[in-house]
Symmetry: C2
Subunit: 281 residues, 2 copies
């Protein structure tokens, strides 16, 4: 079903960004429909797990490489769905998932990257950020939770931080889950109508929706200013859940394939160890 | 395929323990073989995920309940396999996995439970300990890494700690993955013979195997002295990987079922929120 590389198709080009011109319901790189995507996604699982285990094995021996998947998007864009359906395909052993919430008093008493640093993936791990340091130039900007000059400072600080992560072996995959305002409305209504989903809804979600345009503007600036070669943004059309999940699974797979992973050679003499084991009881 | 409750069948009875009399290759509660178990395990997934999401939803609203699965066992007993095949069935969102390694200098400068406390599951989470505070009465005892009186003190400290966790809403499920010395030898040899598994082997594994009897004695004491009603031990016959995985999946499921979980009722007026959403753009 796959044609061109999703990595190329969804890569945000350098330069000015206009979210209103980016299709939120497209299916770039996928020729089938919902049924095919739902069948094909779990089929990525074995190769994802195999590559992830090789990365873990590399980290277990002497490697330093790691992967960081960053998930950002408006409420209902599907971060939780990606965790269940895509991140759920990974082996829990080699995974480090961090869901960033509203910062604590202690976290606020430090620079915004302090709490982020503590949860970057270790060697061999695939890290997943459900929300991230980008909240510090999104919700913080929209609600003016920090002075404008401080928000302004953060774009450069983020680029420096991500550059350092990349230089020390981290493959960074930043995904913006793009939906329309109309899609959000449909999904919030669907939550209200479904007793198994009502718990996910908060009245504050409707208040936040009142700031839709301000959030889109803040995303636009973050996407434009933090779209570097070492930490590029991918814009994931997320109006169709099945495409969103498939695309992020595929994107992660393509990045893992790009690492040319292999099983590490043993740093001991296999025959000698075999003999030791055979000798004893 | 299931007959009696695995929870009852595998529960370690109170009183003296003799590991040599416990079958490590039995399949209590499962009437089929390898093929059936491998088919049945993933079929537990949807119910596990459903109950886990209900627990998460409860924690997201005002609940305090949580679950802690503790995995202990000799090298090659299959802790990693349980993570891949059983824990991998859970939704990453509501899961907190901690793999305890050799303690750091900082950790050693505190009481042994200091680092454990930091990784107990939060409300709504299923926590998984891959190794745990039991290492502090196992490897520590075998290699005399702490004075005998300190090790002796720890059994009571563990019981107090686990009682506190239980009192504050934690369902504790402690699994001892029981294998024979012969099985360990076979599995270590299999690692040496498989280039995709050689990275898991360390020459030190053979040295540790030299302390097999001391480890079994230390496990015996830990199983006897920390087998309480609020935090019972389950002895999982782990000589057959397929049974071990199925049994732990089933045990977790039975414990989640026992919590009588349900979707939390909304703490807002659904019709009112619907009207707010419909009114706006």
């Amino acid at each position: 079903m796959t044609s061109a590389s999703v990595r190329e198709l969804l890569r945000l080009p350098a330069g000015p960004v206009d979210l209103s011109t980016l299709d939120s319901r497209g299916t770039p790189g996928f020729d089938g429909g919902k049924k095919e995507a739902k069948e094909e996604l779990p089929e990525l699982g074995p190769e994802l797990a195999d590559l992830q285990e090789k990365l873990f094995a590399e980290g277990y021996t002497d490697g330093t490489r790691r992967v960081l998947l960053v998930l950002q998007g408006m409420d209902t864009s599907g971060k939780g769905g990606v965790l269940s359906h895509v991140v759920g395909l990974l082996d829990p052993s080699g995974m480090h998932l961090k869901s960033f919430k509203k910062p604590t008093e202690e976290e606020l008493a430090h620079d915004f990257l302090w709490r982020i640093e503590r949860d970057v993936p270790a060697a061999g791990q695939v890290g997943i950020f459900d929300r991230s340091h980008y909240e510090d130039v999104l919700v913080v900007k929209v609600h003016q939770l920090a002075p404008a000059a401080e928000v302004e400072r953060r774009y450069g600080a983020i680029n420096d931080f991500e550059k350092r992560l990349a230089e020390t072996g981290t493959t960074i995959v930043k995904c913006f889950l793009h939906i329309s305002k109309e899609t959000q409305k449909e999904r919030l209504l669907a939550r209200l109508d479904d007793p198994t989903k009502q718990w996910k809804f908060k009245p504050g979600d409707v208040d936040e929706r009142g700031f839709w345009d301000e959030y889109q503007a803040a995303y636009t600036t973050a996407l434009e200013r933090c779209n570097t070669d070492v930490a590029p943004w991918y814009v994931i059309p997320s109006g169709r859940k099945w495409y969103r999940n498939w695309a992020i699974g595929q994107l992660l797979l393509e990045h893992l394939r790009g690492l040319d992973l292999d099983w590490p050679a043993p740093d001991y003499d296999v025959a000698e160890q075999r003999a030791r084991l055979e000798k004893e009881q």
